[in-house]
């Protein structure tokens, strides 16, 4: 155990800090759940890419800079500490990107990863279907092979920012006689392909935060398949846990929220102290965010030694989603009657936005009930029902 950073790690931290200080957008970007804001974020991420700070962990030839996981954590710490814009291409970069790095062919990596890192291609994730939410193995959308391409029919839903994205990836049933998690294939589909229809779904904030995707005889070349035919479930699961557990929500995000909550409390201490329990809650959440960071460093250490991530990804998912919710609930209570302000320029809006989004944390990326089942069955060995 050695809790000091190397000279190289420290130098990287300072480099990132300086670059952010020099390059952060002067004006707050509009919400990425709007077309305008989405494009503003695309420009920002392009700038990150040019500095090779978009996907720091990817190999240099794919647009990254070959950082290790500790350096990635450092990058994230600096990024959140600087209040830089939230990343808009995470589904692609973290979920599909990591999957391609592990399972993609060399051609696929060359073709898809650099534009993804540059956010020239924005990606939507197309797992869920109307009757396949928590029970994802109930997927019915089909991809039937005809020669050198697949023909896709079916419907996906809840696809985050599919209204604005360029591509989607998801699981489709390539063997029509199969059931459950057999016979599925993992495909990448351009959203401007013929036969694709997108119907935005308004989220709680009134914006088109996600969408339904309809596929009507959509032709996709076979080379757009990740991994072998019929084993899409395994390919998806191999990276899902890793993402859920670590990459998707880096601890810095919650440490920054906790820090801001401390500031919010201090700035409103007189009213906040009307309820003396608030002070303790604020401090407790700061500790919890620290604990999450510690847990991430520990996991990274073990991954560096060759370990695989296990059921702790489910533990992390429950932990960050519940912590995020609690922090925002407390912020709303501190703000009291000012909390409802939707005005995007108001300081309060930061908390309201976050509060609304935090409601979804225990649902997306596998609901927390499902995560508890996974912990009980796979980590504690309790029998399935």
């Amino acid at each position: 155990m050695n809790l000091t950073y190397t000279k190289q790690q420290q130098a990287f931290r300072l480099e990132v800090r300086q670059w952010l200080a020099d390059n952060l957008p002067e004006q707050k970007l509009a919400s990425y759940d709007t077309r305008e804001g989405f494009e503003q974020h695309r420009v920002w991420e392009g700038k990150l890419f040019d500095a090779r700070l978009s996907m720091v962990m990817w190999p240099e030839e794919l647009g990254g800079r070959g950082c290790d996981l500790i350096e990635w954590l450092i990058f994230e710490e600096e990024y959140y500490a600087a209040d830089a814009p939230m990343r808009v291409n995470q589904n692609g970069q973290l979920l599909l990107g990591s999957t391609l790095i592990e399972f993609g062919t060399d051609e696929q990596k060359k073709q898809f990863l650099p534009p993804m890192a540059a956010s020239q291609h924005m990606w939507a994730q197309a797992w869920s279907e109307p009757n396949a939410g928590s029970d994802m193995a109930a997927i019915t959308s089909k991809a039937i092979r005809e020669g050198d391409h697949y023909v896709i029919n079916g419907q996906k839903t809840w696809s985050t920012r599919a209204s604005f994205a360029d591509w989607c990836f998801g699981l489709f049933r390539s063997d029509p006689t199969s059931s459950r998690h057999h016979g599925l294939s993992y495909l990448m589909v351009p959203l401007d392909a013929e036969g694709v229809t997108i119907r935005p779904i308004k989220a709680l904030n009134g914006k088109d935060a996600f969408a339904e995707i309809f596929f009507d005889n959509v032709k996709v070349p076979v080379v757009n398949r990740v991994g072998d035919e019929g084993v899409g479930w395994r390919v998806a699961m191999a990276t899902a846990g890793f993402e859920r557990g670590l990459l998707l929500r880096s601890p810095a995000r919650f440490q920054q929220t906790a820090r801001k909550l401390v500031e919010l409390y201090k700035a409103n201490q007189q009213t906040a102290d009307n309820d003396p329990s608030i002070r303790n809650q604020v401090s407790e959440y700061w500790s919890a965010a620290e604990a999450y960071a510690l847990s991430a460093y520990n996991t990274v250490g073990r991954l560096n030694q060759g370990d695989k991530i296990g059921a702790e990804s489910s533990i992390n998912k429950i932990f960050w989603s519940e912590l995020d919710l609690k922090m925002h609930e407390t912020a709303m209570r501190i703000l009291g009657s000012r909390a409802e302000l939707l005005d995007n320029d108001a300081q309060e809006a930061y908390w309201l936005d976050g509060f609304l989004f935090a409601q979804a944390g225990p649902i997306y990326a596998g609901s927390n009930e499902i995560q508890r089942n996974i912990i009980a069955e796979r980590m504690l060995g309790l029998p399935r029902a």
Binding site: E77, Q255, V282, L294, L382
Partner: protein, 358 residues
């Protein structure tokens, strides 16, 4: 930056665990509870043979010279097996105080301290440690030596120079006492600023030791609960297949996993004498206490009425949990220490401030 243990550290823990599994089975613990002293010289000798008593004795005094990080692993095993022995108080707290105490011109005194350290390492003496956060002193009646505080002073007093009144605890493995004694020049170890610093160190070590034991206890209660729900049947199936039961235990497992790295950071930063180590230790005490508390609460729930009996092993570990939660600073005490840190304008908090503040 590497926030993991070495293979040696893990192997040592594993060896201790295997040893305690056979030497400190629940039946053996129950027998020891029944004795007057509540302590077993045989068990203590065997523990000493494993090297545990010499863990933090400096190498020049015949010890292993390991520190807080090693103890953060060992105390978990002491908790897991519910060891009825003030081993950590003697070999971790007291050994730490005696090592930290500055050398003086009094050669005789230095010599004596060296002897005490050697004796602790060999496992031949017990030391009890008093501190104002604990109203009663554990093991005062069976200790050969007591570290006791008076104002800013730290004293080392032998058993014959104190009076004790025993007070029973709900935890049958504990032997608590009210201690009366007279400080004297002969017993003085440290005073003034040095004394204060040592007192703070005693408190931090005590809290860290309790935190590690609580985490071990939490794991034991979880394991006992898993075993139970995997064999108990209702409605024609094992109760471990019911989702409500699963979720009770998944929550305990989650609490334990999130508490571990908090404990480890505290131990390592304490070892490194980081300026914030008191806060980290308080966090560790809170997280470990909460994990153990939930493990007890959900453990008794999934055991049903069996959990409310003397027969079931769970009770041994629940009771330890309840008492350790409030020993060496209860949760409120440690929350106050964390609050003081978080709301102090001079402290940097947030991303990038997790490690190595100096």
């Amino acid at each position: 930056m590497d926030f993991t243990f070495t293979e040696d550290e893990l192997a040592f823990r594993e060896a201790i665990s295997r040893f305690l599994m056979t030497e400190a089975a629940p039946e053996a613990l129950r027998e020891i509870w029944e004795t007057d002293t509540g302590r077993s010289p045989e068990l203590r000798n065997k523990i000493a043979e494993q090297g545990l008593t010499a863990l933090s004795i400096p190498e020049e005094d015949g010890g292993l010279g390991l520190g807080d990080v090693a103890w953060s692993l060992m105390t978990q095993e002491l908790g897991y097996y519910g060891i009825p022995d003030s081993l950590a108080d003697t070999a971790y707290l007291a050994a730490g105080v005696l090592t930290a105490r500055p050398q003086t011109d009094n050669l005789e005194r230095n010599q004596q301290i060296k002897q005490w350290l050697t004796a602790i390492g060999e496992g031949s003496i017990r030391v009890a440690v008093g501190h104002p956060v604990n109203p009663l002193v554990a093991d005062a009646a069976v200790a050969d030596l007591l570290i006791l505080l008076d104002g800013d002073d730290v004293h080392a007093v032998t058993r014959k120079d104190i009076d004790v009144v025993l007070r029973p605890s709900i935890d049958s493995s504990r032997r608590l006492a009210k201690v009366s004694w007279q400080p004297s020049r002969d017993s003085l170890l440290a005073s003034g600023e040095v004394g204060k610093a040592i007192q703070q160190q005693i408190l931090n070590r005590g809290a860290l030791s309790a935190a590690g034991q609580l985490l071990g206890l939490a794991q034991r209660m979880l394991d006992l609960s898993i075993d139970y729900v995997a064999q108990r049947k209702q409605f024609g199936r094992v109760i471990g297949s019911f989702q409500a039961v699963k979720h009770h235990l998944a929550d305990v497992a989650s609490k334990i996993e999130m508490a571990k790295p908090v404990l480890y950071r505290a131990a390592k930063e304490f070892d490194d004498e980081s300026v914030d180590s008191s806060v980290y230790i308080s966090q560790a005490k809170i997280f470990c206490a909460e994990a153990a508390h939930l493990a007890a609460k959900n453990g008794i729930q999934v055991h049903g009425a069996m959990g409310y009996t003397w027969e079931v092993d769970l009770q041994m570990f629940m009771k330890r949990t309840w008492v350790l939660e409030s020993t060496w600073g209860d949760v409120s005490f440690h929350k106050a220490r964390v609050n003081e840190f978080v709301f102090d304008a001079n402290n940097k908090i947030g991303p990038g401030q997790t490690f190595g503040r100096t």
